[in-house]
Symmetry: C2
Subunit: 378 residues, 2 copies
Amino acid sequence: MKKISRRKFNESFLKGVGVASVAATIPTACAAGNGLPVGEKLGVALVGLGSYSTYQLGPALLETKHCYLAGIVTGTLEKEKIWSEKYNLPKESIYNYENFDEIIKNDTIDIVYVVLPNSMHADFCIRAARAGKHVICEKPMAMNVEECDVIIAACKKAKVKLSVGYRLHSEPYTQEVQRMVREKTFGAIRFVNAEAGYYSGSHPNQWRLDKTLSGGGALVNMGVYSIQSAIYGTGTNPISVSAQEFSTRPEYFKGTDETISAQFEFPNGVVGNIFTSHNVNTNRLYVSAEKGWFELHPANSYGPLSGRRSDGAEIKFPHESQQKLQMDDFALHILKGTINRVPGEMGKRDMIIVEAIYRSIREGGKKIPLDLGRMGIV
Amino acid sequence: MKKISRRKFNESFLKGVGVASVAATIPTACAAGNGLPVGEKLGVALVGLGSYSTYQLGPALLETKHCYLAGIVTGTLEKEKIWSEKYNLPKESIYNYENFDEIIKNDTIDIVYVVLPNSMHADFCIRAARAGKHVICEKPMAMNVEECDVIIAACKKAKVKLSVGYRLHSEPYTQEVQRMVREKTFGAIRFVNAEAGYYSGSHPNQWRLDKTLSGGGALVNMGVYSIQSAIYGTGTNPISVSAQEFSTRPEYFKGTDETISAQFEFPNGVVGNIFTSHNVNTNRLYVSAEKGWFELHPANSYGPLSGRRSDGAEIKFPHESQQKLQMDDFALHILKGTINRVPGEMGKRDMIIVEAIYRSIREGGKKIPLDLGRMGIV
């Protein structure tokens, strides 16, 4: 934390850190206090400097009010130089995957944002928690529900805050949808349709197509957006799901799902369709209610988004970096105790739904009951 | 046909007309010739004077250029008076369901438009054909595929033209979608989403909720629109379908399906989702292609419709009565040999899909193969 003297960890704790394990203990909580001087910022370290960090998170951290880029973790020497120059990073705040755990000693870093391939989320989130750092885990949260549980437990044990990289919860179009649902602007919701997909072209070597790294295809990458849309578009968690898988280019999508449709039942007879694909460009959220409808289209790109309502009103807000808003929201949650818009339980909930969708597909489209209660709904 | 001397049927033929049977023969073809004087109009008789005839078809026939309201068939004496006054109908062109077959003797009536509950479509279409009249059968074409076959055979045997009441094929928004699909304005189609439903309120005594009269619920009433949309939105017939049924108000929708989602596979890996409901207001068509998207919203109401494209262009046409355009198109088909935009085979094709959807639901969402070829695609 810039300009703030920070809790010191017992450095001997580091010696106990080996492979990821939630059994490790954190000797002291690292939640920052209230009453900070105005203008104080939390330090963020980005773990993984792929295109999302390079083109979205890094630039966003130049605009954030409550946090800033304080460190990086990368396996590529060349990136160390480029990033340290661009973001004026001190040498001691640049880590690689081998010496990552030494981050525990770095008081300028308060938040670790894990932006690695999905298979590495759990390991680095747990290690970040054990280093006493608050954690943002990029979506999808992990490879499976079990890993989500382990991440949540690790953060709880370490008394650090945990969030998942669902940036849309911090941006105004999505918040306007949430408001209209909550306030029943058009009466009770009856139906939601949410689509999230893109044509992935022909890049067979990308990690997203390698199931050992991604855990799944379109569903875990883009489908989580349509799951999210369907849930904040209705304000409730689904109580059942059925799903179907389609394959257009099996020679390209060898190991991961290409295209999936799924159907949700929500409480009170509300129904929802979602669609996701690595072969189709689509990016929409539509909500039909008693007295009208509203939609976002695009609904989950980096913006600017666009929205309409059945009464002719346009849904329109000034464009700001969604990632800036997201990271500032999380920083304020840590600094001021404001709401955590995307707690780990939300990422876990979505992974439960993802697993149910895959199960329905394996079982020929069978309806799978879901017992989520209000889990993950903030 | 107004002012045109018309072929005379052997009146003794009438004596052979009893219950509907395709075995009956028509002694002579009744296709009207070419070379008509400009301004000549075909006479249309509406069979069934419910709200669709009252508020749509009747008024449209005051605007049509190539046909006009020449007769009515109704079981309600009160309606006889109202309609004959409003539309200046001669007494001899007013029929009831008992004396309907005498329409064979009425040379002013060229086209019979059957607007009755679905269970009566086949009977009256067949009787109209046997009376030598061209036939428009309101959608859905019939209670099942078998009835569609019988209607088609009856019209073929009688050498009369047959169309189904899919008015959208004659209106410009739908034709623009068909054009963009055909001309690949945004490249090859990859995905279509089509929704058609309305909240049917609380009118438990309506015939649409009585399966013996309707043959089905939302799917046969509104679902056929989304089936149609999905097909002209891709330009191809589906090769498989899976489907799920949802029930929100089972106490109200006792005998007919309330809400259905279905998933189509089309040739070349194109996929489609459709949704229909008697409990949800929705009315949309969205097509995602290689280089962009286009949508109609609303897509299948009586108009004005509205459409957008990914390049920012609005899809916009002057509003005209869709029913006017539809009936004029059919009259021109008869008069001038122009294309029959909605042949009976299209209604039959949709009923094959409807039956496959119901079968998939019965079989727990199983994927049902469809072998339609180009059936019904004009």
